[in-house]
Each structure stands twice: as structure tokens, then as C-alpha cells.
């Protein structure tokens, strides 16, 4: 009995040892991680494409830098990311590198408080560009647009806080097979009237065959983008009229103030013509689209129930990977002066910009490994890093020298034309946008019309515009007040750098203050 027990004990011991050995060799993590530095890279680009592109760059970077491990954090955007970002930054638990956008509501203070400027590094060549066409070129100048948006959105004029990873624009994605079925061939619309005719043919085809097919996949999100694109052409003349300063660019505050002063109305003919174009476009969507989101529109398109899907090139990779048919991206052409419906209000060809880089990444001031984080950023935005990113994501690269894959080459084929910036009259402010959405049913559908919509907007907008102009004023003052300690801070330091930074801060503060005083006066005088 005792021998049996001894044997059983030995067998148990051997079994346990063998099990432990198997576990250690096949399953367990090393007790000490091989890489001594881990950096975290957080963004909200969870569409198909960018995570793969970033992973491809990380893989190569880790091969080149064996001591560094890079972790990609994909945080859903819109509602979750801003809160997640704010709480982590406040608690000093934020990742080393983070995406941020100037349009995120209520987040304007973030860069100044939590991110480190990259200006000095951007003035030096990117070491990962050695042996490429961008070798010896200052890092900043290797970007396609020399970092326009990070310069424009900087809380400190003269300082650059971010580098961009990609470039994007809006495109009309066409189901090629469905178009051949309906039109007999692929027709690329050369102006808005061509698109109008295509929509009519789709409607006719749907009626004849009894199949539910719409010209444009519908949703609230994509409607915003469509409206902002098509409304612009008849508004070019109005924009010119409102440009008192002669900057050939309108900021939202100028459009808001001009409305308060009674210098334009939704019911004036040119604006109504723009609304008419929005109505024509949204009438090509399925009923009830305003209750749907971007993903619903994408599903409608992928099921072959809509000929076109209109949105950003950031969705191109998702569409390509998910669609069972060939997709051709096309430009959404604006109405021209010869347009039969609204041509008399169009003063020229509207433009869609010259390609601005985006997906801005910032370095957290409290990063535990700022040198390594910055180094990874340099790799990701080098020619080899961007090549890996663009090849794996099919998103445009942000830097010169990276070869744009054939499949997305026409994303860079921008429509040249007149542009007055980003004031499409529906999104000039939060309240204005809400009023627009709330009344949109008056524009689209059988019972809707541009006249009804314009009349409803003009009845409700004065209060909304006032609220939004007040919000603009508050946002400007948010920039003005903290500059006083900054200016005094620089004045307390010695050296040329401190003097120059003080002068720049003083100039920027005075400019913002002047704008704030103008807005205050505009609000008071429009009482």
C-alpha cells in the first residue's frame, strides 16, 4: 500500500512537472518582457484600412528598434473618444501619442494643456528619410501641405503641435455593375446636371423593374456632406459679398455675424437655389434617410440598393473590402453657370481645395517615453513608414516621396475652383446645425420645398445664430485669457527664443482680442 502511494505520488509529480513544462514552453508569457519600452498610439480611425497601415509601420519599426514595443489603441470616435481622451489626460494616464481634431466640440484647450510642441524637431530632417527623395529636407517640408492644419489649429501661433498621417477628401463611390445595368455603360458626371440626369434614370429604372434602387445611399451623416458640397456653387456670389476683409475666405463667425446684421437670408434667391440642389440630391435617397446613420447608408450601397455612396475617402478601403462589386470613385461635380436650374446664381466653378493632410497625431506632455514616441512618429511619417501605411491601408500618404497606390491615385485629382473656406451655411454653428436638421423634412420629399425650408429657417435662425455667435465669442476668449500668464511667463525668461515667443504670443492675443471685441459689438448692435 505504501509503495503504491509512493508510486502514485511520483506519477503525480512527474505529471505536474510535464504539465508545467508544456505550459511554460507553449502558453506562458515571459516573466520579463523582452522590450523595455512600450509606447501607446491612440486614434479613432477604426475604419477598415488605417489600423492595418499603422500595424504595418509598427511591425517594421519594431524590427528596427528591438527595445521598443508600440501598442495601437483603437478608440471609437464621435462620442467615446473625446471623453476617453479628456479623462485620461486629466489623470495623467493618457497614451504617448494621441489623435486630436480642432472640430471636436469642447476640446479646444487640449493641445495647449496636454500636448508638447514639435516645432523644433520639425525644423530638422527626419532621420528615417535617409536614402529617400526627402533626405536632408526639414521634416515639416516633407509633408504634402507643409502641415497646414496643425499650423492653423495651433494654440500658439508659430508652434506646431502635430504631424499628420494621411490626406482625405470626399468622393462619390459608384457601383459600376449597377450603373452598367441601369445606364448601359459607365457615365462619369461632368457637372451637376449630369448627376441630375443619372438620378432620373435610376428612378425610372426602379419604377420599370419594380426593384428598390435609389440614386444615392441615404443617411443623416452622408446628407451633411452632400449638402455641404452641392450648396456651395450658388453661394459663391453671396460669399464674395460678405467678404469685407478681402481675405477670400470666410470664417463661421463672419457668416453668423452677417446673418445677424441681415446681410443674407435663407430665403434670398441664391441661397434658395443652393437649397434646391440639396433637395434634388436628397430626393435621390430612400424615404426616412434622416433617421439613419453612415453605416446604414453603407449597407444600403453594399446590398446594391443604391447606385452611389457619397462620403470621405476614409471609407474607401471599407467599401472595397466589403463590396462584392467593382467600385469607382468619382468627383461630385458642382453646378456650373450653364446649369438649367440654378446657373444664373453660379459665378464660376467651385473648388474642393488642394488636398489638406489630416489624422493629426500629438505627443502627450506627460509621456513616460517622449523620445521613443517622437521617434516612432518620425518613422510613421517618413517615406518608408508612409509607404507601408498607404500600401496596407489604401489611405493617401501625407508626405512627399511615397508612391500612391494605383487604386487610390484619383483621390488626389482635386477639382480646382473658387472656394471661400468652410462656411456651407448649414454647419456654421451647433445651434444652426440643429435647426437645420430639425427642419430638414420641410426640404425633402414630396411635400417639401426649398421655399418652405428657407421660410422655416429664417423664422428660427436669428436666435440660433445669436447663440452660435456667442459660442464663437466664448471660444475666442478661451484663447485670449490664458495668454496673459503665457506672455508674462515668456517675459520672465531670458534669451532670444523667449523674446520671440513672447512677441508671437502678444501678436496672437491681440488679434484674437480684436475679433472678440468685433463679435461683442456685432451681438450688441443686432439686438
Amino acid at each position: 500500500m505504501r509503495r503504491l502511494r509512493a508510486k502514485l505520488g511520483l506519477a503525480l509529480l512527474v505529471g505536474a512537472y510535464a504539465g508545467a513544462l508544456y505550459w511554460v514552453l507553449t502558453r506562458s508569457e515571459p516573466v520579463i518582457h523582452r522590450r523595455e519600452v512600450t509606447i501607446y498610439f491612440a486614434h479613432w480611425q477604426i475604419e477598415r484600412g488605417p489600423p492595418d497601415g499603422i500595424n504595418a509601420a509598427i511591425k517594421r519599426y519594431e524590427e528596427l528598434n528591438p527595445r521598443v514595443h508600440v501598442v495601437q489603441l483603437q478608440i471609437p470616435g464621435a462620442t467615446i473618444y473625446p471623453q476617453w481622451m479628456r479623462s485620461n489626460l486629466a489623470g495623467e494616464t493618457g497614451p504617448d501619442l494621441m489623435e486630436w481634431g480642432a472640430w471636436l466640440p469642447g476640446q479646444k484647450d487640449i493641445p495647449a494643456r496636454y500636448f508638447a510642441p514639435l516645432t523644433a524637431e520639425l525644423a530638422k530632417p527626419n532621420p528615417y528619410n535617409r536614402g529617400t527623395s526627402q533626405e536632408k529636407i526639414p521634416w515639416q517640408d516633407t509633408f504634402h501641405d507643409k502641415l497646414l492644419a496643425p499650423k492653423r489649429d495651433s494654440p500658439d501661433p508659430g508652434q506646431i503641435y502635430a504631424v499628420n498621417i494621411t490626406e482625405s477628401t470626399l468622393r462619390l463611390f459608384c457601383n459600376v455593375e449597377l450603373m452598367k445595368e441601369i445606364l448601359g455603360r459607365v457615365v462619369v458626371p461632368k457637372n451637376f446636371d449630369d448627376l441630375r440626369k443619372i438620378f432620373a434614370q435610376v428612378q425610372d429604372y426602379s419604377r420599370r423593374t419594380g426593384r428598390t434602387i435609389h440614386g444615392l445611399a441615404g443617411s443623416r451623416d452622408t446628407t451633411r456632406s452632400v449638402a455641404q458640397s452641392v450648396i456651395l456653387a450658388p453661394l459663391l456670389g453671396v460669399n464674395q459679398r460678405l467678404d469685407d476683409g478681402g481675405t477670400l475666405y470666410l470664417y463661421n463667425r463672419q457668416v453668423l455675424a452677417a446673418y445677424l446684421a441681415g446681410r443674407w437670408r435663407y430665403s434670398e434667391p441664391a441661397v434658395r437655389a443652393g437649397l434646391q440642389l440639396v433637395r434634388e440630391t436628397t430626393n435621390a435617397m430612400k424615404p426616412g434617410f434622416i433617421q439613419l446613420r453612415r453605416d446604414d447608408a453603407m449597407i444600403e450601397f453594399l446590398r446594391g440598393q443604391a447606385l452611389f455612396f457619397f462620403y470621405g475617402t476614409w471609407d474607401a478601403t471599407s467599401l472595397r473590402r466589403l463590396a462584392s462589386f467593382k467600385i469607382q470613385p468619382m468627383k461630385l461635380m458642382q453646378a456650373m453657370p450653364d446649369d438649367p436650374e440654378v446657373g444664373r446664381y453660379v459665378v464660376g466653378q467651385g473648388g474642393e481645395g488642394m488636398g489638406e493632410t489630416s489624422l493629426s497625431m500629438y505627443l502627450n506632455k506627460t509621456s513616460r517615453h517622449p523620445a521613443e514616441a517622437l521617434d516612432f512618429l518620425k518613422f510613421l511619417t517618413s517615406v518608408p513608414g508612409q509607404q507601408l501605411f498607404t500600401d496596407a491601408s489604401l489611405w493617401l500618404p501625407a508626405v512627399n516621396g511615397a508612391v500612391v497606390p494605383e487604386a487610390i491615385r484619383n483621390f488626389r485629382d482635386y477639382q480646382e475652383g473658387i472656394s471661400f473656406g468652410q462656411a456651407p451655411y448649414d454647419m456654421i454653428g451647433t445651434e444652426v446645425g440643429m435647426n437645420w436638421d430639425r427642419n430638414f423634412y420641410r426640404l425633402s420629399g414630396e411635400n417639401g420645398s426649398a421655399e418652405k425650408f428657407a421660410a422655416a429657417l429664417d423664422a428660427e435662425m436669428p436666435a440660433a445664430v445669436r447663440q452660435d455667435l456667442k459660442a464663437e465669442l466664448r471660444a475666442t476668449l478661451v484663447l485670449v485669457k490664458p495668454q496673459d500668464p503665457v506672455i508674462v511667463g515668456w517675459a520672465g525668461l531670458t534669451g532670444d527664443k523667449a523674446r520671440i515667443r513672447r512677441e508671437e504670443s502678444e501678436a496672437a492675443q491681440t488679434m484674437s482680442e480684436g475679433l472678440a471685441l468685433q463679435m461683442k459689438l456685432q451681438l450688441e448692435s443686432a439686438k
Binding site: 495647449a112 494643456r113 501641405d145 507643409k146 497646414l148 499650423k151 492653423r152 495651433s154 494654440p155 501661433p157 508659430g158 467678404d243 469685407d244 476683409g245 478681402g246 481675405t247 477670400l248 475666405y249 464660376g348 473648388g351 481645395g353 488642394m354 489638406e356 506632455k365 480646382e416 475652383g417 473658387i418 472656394s419 471661400f420 473656406g421 476668449l477 485670449v480 485669457k481 490664458p482 496673459d484 500668464p485 503665457v486 508674462v488 511667463g489 515668456w490 517675459a491 520672465g492 525668461l493 523667449a498 515667443r501 512677441e503 508671437e504 502678444e506 501678436a507 496672437a508 491681440t510 488679434m511 482680442e513 480684436g514 471685441l517 468685433q518 461683442k520 459689438l521
Partner: protein, 280 residues
């Protein structure tokens, strides 16, 4: 006393060093901590600056008092009580005769211009004027004149007529000797000119001066370059407009406005031809 006992002497020396070291360290950071606080403030880190200043032992210097009051201006959440405490500090420091007094006087005026819940523009203007009278060459007085210019342009009850507002602000330019600050006021006068729909030639004169002094950063240089071209065109100075538009296309990365500027150059050619009685 310890001469017969060399090992005691060495021991006492070491003991003295160790004992005095904390005092030496405590004495040194006064200026170091204030300098660090200036740097933190310059980096938008006022909370950290506050913590840093709070750690300084011993009676605070005038510089520390000033730094602490400046920090309070943007220490979140900003309270009116804290701002009033800061004002009392600024007012006390402003009575002195050093650069700190000038900076404190400037900050006191800033409280009335932008920080207090109830702004008092006439009081801010009076403080700027007093500072400029007392220390006309001080940087803070010069900067105060720029801010006074803003108040004259938009906020003070008198003068109330736009042309007179612009005239009053323009008169300040002669008292500002720092070129960069002159530039800032020129720019504000020009912007007020378009805001109040003043004659374009008077606006252009200020913008041209801003361009001559240069040194603007951010989006401002690009806006300025286009403004110079467009307002010159509107004022009928076609050659001048062409020069500025061409400079814009040469000096700035192609962007949203480039095509609009090229289109304006085409309009310009047509206007020039018309002026010469030719067909475009």
C-alpha cells in the same frame, strides 16, 4: 580648538557640510523655482507653476508675489475672489519702481479688460494711460498702448464715431516705439477699418505697414497677403494688387485659396484692359 584632534576636525567639517547642505538647498531654489515657474507658465502649465511656487520656503520675494498673482489669473476654476486678491497684489507691486511694478500695473489693467466677470473698459483704459505716463518706454506700457488701442477701436463709449475711434487709435502709434507692437496696432486699425467700412486707401496704408514690419506667424501672414491683393484690387490699384497676388502664389503652399487668387488675377487682367480701353 580642535588643532590637537585632526580626526575631530575632519569629522566636524563633514558634520557642518551635511548640516548646512539643506539650508543651502533651501536658499538656492528661491530664484530657481521662480524661473521654473515662468517656464511652466510659458508652457501653459499654470497649475504646475502654482505648485512650484507653493513649495518655496521662507518669506516670498516681490517676484514670487507677482508670479503667484499671475498664476491666479488662470488657475482653474477661476473665482472672482481670487482675481480680486490678485488685483490687490498687482496694485501693491505697481507702486514700486522696478520692471516688476510696470508688469504688475499692466496685469492690473488686464483684469479689468478681460478677466473680471464685470469688465470695466474705462478703468482698464485709465490704468493703461497711467502706466504709459509713468513708464513711457517700458515694454508693458507699450503693450498696454496696443490694448488701449483695441478699447478705443471697439469698446470705450467715447469717441463713438468709427472714424474718430480709428483716429484716436492711430494717434497712439506715435507713442509706441517697439516695432512689433506698432505692427500689431497697425493690423488692428486696418481690421477695424474694414469692420467699420472705412475708405480702402486708409486701410491699405496700415496693412502695408504691417507687411513691411513682418514677423507674423500662424494663419495671419497668409490672410494678410490675400487682403493686400484683394483690397488693392477693390481700391483700383491694379499694379499693386497684381504684385501682392503674385507674391501670395509664390510664397505660400498651394491651398484652398490659391485657385480663387488665380481667378482674381484673371479678373484683374480684365479690369486693367478695360481701364486701358482694350478688350480683355
Amino acid at each position: 580648538m580642535f588643532a590637537p584632534y585632526p580626526e575631530w576636525r575632519r569629522g566636524c567639517g563633514a558634520w557642518l557640510c551635511l548640516t548646512l547642505l539643506p539650508f543651502a538647498r533651501a536658499a538656492a531654489p528661491v530664484s530657481d523655482d521662480t524661473a521654473a515657474a515662468w517656464q511652466l507658465m510659458a508652457d501653459h502649465l499654470v497649475r504646475d507653476a502654482y505648485v512650484r511656487l507653493d513649495q518655496v520656503k521662507g518669506p516670498p520675494s516681490r517676484e514670487q508675489d507677482f508670479a503667484q498673482a499671475v498664476v491666479a489669473v488662470d488657475y482653474q476654476p477661476v473665482t472672482q475672489a481670487r482675481l480680486h486678491e490678485a488685483e490687490a497684489t498687482f496694485a501693491a507691486l505697481a507702486a514700486g519702481h522696478d520692471e516688476l511694478a510696470e508688469a504688475a500695473a499692466y496685469m492690473q489693467a488686464r483684469l479689468y479688460q478681460v478677466h473680471f466677470q464685470q469688465l470695466d473698459y474705462p478703468r482698464a483704459a485709465a490704468l493703461y494711460r497711467a502706466l504709459a505716463e509713468r513708464h513711457p518706454e517700458s515694454h508693458w506700457a507699450q503693450l498696454g498702448l496696443v490694448k488701449l488701442g483695441l478699447l478705443l477701436l471697439y469698446a470705450l463709449p467715447e469717441p463713438s464715431v468709427p472714424a474718430e475711434r480709428i483716429g484716436a487709435a492711430t494717434a497712439l502709434l506715435a507713442r509706441i516705439h517697439e516695432e512689433k507692437l506698432q505692427r500689431d496696432l497697425h493690423l488692428q486699425i486696418a481690421r477695424a477699418g474694414t469692420f467699420y467700412d472705412q475708405p480702402l486707401d486708409s486701410v491699405l496704408a496700415h496693412l502695408i505697414e504691417v507687411n513691411r514690419i513682418g514677423g507674423l506667424v500662424g494663419q495671419a501672414p497668409e490672410d494678410l497677403a490675400v487682403e493686400l491683393g484683394e483690397l488693392s484690387l477693390r481700391a483700383g490699384h491694379y499694379a499693386q494688387a497684381r504684385g501682392y497676388f503674385e507674391a501670395y502664389l509664390r510664397d505660400f503652399v498651394p491651398n484652398l485659396r490659391s485657385v480663387t487668387v488665380r481667378r482674381r488675377l484673371e479678373d484683374l487682367a480684365a479690369l486693367e484692359a478695360k481701364a486701358k480701353g482694350l478688350r480683355p
